[in-house]
Amino acid sequence: MSDKVIKKEELPNVLKILKETYEVFVPVKEKGFYRFKVLEDENKVDLNFTNTRLSPKSLLFPQSERMFEYSLDEADEDAYVIKEPPKDYAPTVVVGMRPCDAKALRLVDVNFVNPEFKDPWWARRLESLTLIGLGCKEPCSTCFCTSVNCGPFNEEGLDVLLFDLGKNYMARAITEKGAQLLKLAGVSEDATSDLNKQAEESKAKAEKQIISHVPTDKLKEKKAIDLFDASFWDEVAFACLNCGTCTFLCPTCWCFDIQDEVNKKKGDRIRNWDSCMFPLFTLHASGHNPRSEKVQRVRQRFMHKLKYYLDKYDNGVACVGCGRCVNYCPVNIDIREVFKLMNET
């Protein structure tokens, strides 16, 4: 399918059509930051954003999710029978997802759909999603996507990629799902070769504008044990508060906890995001804690992303270069520096 064109003034109409079939998520500015929310008024959609503060992983993997419910009341016929509460798998479109965040979903997918087990909620939600990405024509100084097999107009994980070309968007269908969606939305006008050229120029310009680069070429061949025993971890971890902000904002962090919450005779089993930054994450009931020290936890986070993931799945590093952890770390720990230390030392 050839690239299509959507005039900016037509976007509300396109979204209106999509709304009839899909649940539509768009970036919405709230208290100074953008986040993905259900589209309410298609005339007020604002795609002039850098990126959302929280990654959109929560659309598939909510920060807190009720897995099951059960009754503890012996009088109930199904006491102690664990049941899945109704969940929403309605077809959903996300408009304006950044290419890095879309790629991140592919990186996380290998965890939730592993050779032996499949996380049913993640898998079904991923199936129900159609992702309309928006290329980054103005990357930030902290973006380093081009160093980690990604890029401001990377297509992996997206169904449609939009190029912002002033008065128009050029829409490129990446998948069959994306082509179907464009068809349904009445987007049929082919992009002119001039527009196509503009899109390529915009992409090339954006890639050039990415000034942060990290080295990754030696990570694969390095021995995990040598990196683990490297002398730089104390320095990397020195200022860390173990606040967990990096893990919560990170589009490729997936760790979670499972807790039971009981109110009188009704119980819920709940899954919450967890963080390797927290001492309780690995604390055994016996009191033994294999990662009791801050430096061990900081090392675990970076080793997991840049080495263990690479070794386990042979799928690149678990980082898409979005720069969120760089921007929001309260003590300025910079993963780009850790890349250098791990790759070069």
Binding site: Y80, N111, E116, K118, I225, V262, H284, D311
Partner: protein
């Protein structure tokens, strides 16, 4: 594919208080739905997530052998929130079981070999499962010599006293029991596992050695197993880490790039030598 988070409901049929201090109990559970039993095909060394509906889940190795039909056994030390809640459960009550999980002992590789099992304290539960398994009438001829070395802090801490008595009478099993410190009634060995293992020095010929116990015991026993001739490839450990999901997703039980839940919990020393231990 089936939802890997849904536990089977099981009824508590029996509870054995294993130790003098009453802190370790063995729960015998039966499936409420018969069809669940058919889907719970396991081997010794595998584990399951046990649910107390109220307090949550925790992982435990099966202490029973798949040759014992109709029930599963779990030996549980009272330590944290879930284990304390389970300890307060009584016969007839319902708990949840999710599994079987993990790789288990390489039973087929062990066939035709001599097996040396070294267990310390509470870590003995899955070796008890393996011992029961190899002693099963149909299985016993398929294994070579079986040696079990089992130690506890004191005689009151030895688990499975009925089994130990039965096994002690058998001629097709070499059983060595030891305690760190004796009481008035104890007439057996006194000494730590590494030292006793060195004294007994079981032959490494055509043999595998399996070591399960607290980290400190493993640390001091491994040099001994090496000294008496067991290669790292034939020295197997069963590791413990905190787990939530048990299915390779929640991210906390890794040792380097391996997950204890899905890649283990049983590893050979050869597999572990390139991995990393966070030892505080």
């Amino acid at each position: 594919m089936k939802n890997p988070y849904i536990p089977f409901p099981m009824r508590i049929d029996n509870v054995v208080i294993e130790t003098d201090d009453r802190d370790i109990k063995t729960f015998s559970l039966s499936f409420i739905h018969k069809e669940d039993e058919a889907s719970f095909a396991y081997i010794p060394g595998q584990f399951a997530e046990l649910s107390d509906f109220n307090k949550g889940e925790a992982p435990f190795g099966m202490a029973s052998s798949p040759t014992q039909k109709g029930s599963l056994e779990f030996t549980i030390a009272k330590a944290g929130v879930v284990t304390t809640a389970l300890h307060n459960r009584e016969v007839g009550e319902i708990v949840g079981v999710r599994g079987p999980l993990g790789n288990g002992f390489p039973v087929d590789t062990l066939r035709g070999k001599n097996i040396v099992m070294i267990g310390g304290g509470f870590g003995f539960s899955t070796l008890r499962a393996l011992t029961t398994f190899v002693l099963d009438e149909a299985n016993r001829p398929t294994f070579g010599d079986i040696t079990v070395i089992y130690g506890a802090r004191n005689p009151g801490q030895l688990l499975y006293k009925d089994d130990l008595e039965q096994w002690g009478k058998r001629h097709d099993l070499n059983l060595y029991l030891t305690v760190d410190s004796r009481d008035d009634e104890w007439s057996g060995r006194v000494g730590l596992i590494p030292q006793i293992t060195k004294e007994i020095a079981p032959s490494a010929e055509n043999a595998y050695i399996l070591v399960c116990g607290p980290p400190v015991m493993i640390k001091f026993t491994l040099p001994v197993t090496r000294e008496i001739g067991f290669l790292p490839e034939r020295t197997l450990l069963s590791l413990e880490m905190r787990m939530k999901c048990g299915v390779g997703m929640c991210g906390r039980c890794n040792i380097g790039s391996k997950y204890v839940c899905t890649d283990g919990p049983v590893f050979s020393c050869a597999q572990l030598s390139g991995l990393l231990f966070d030892e505080s």
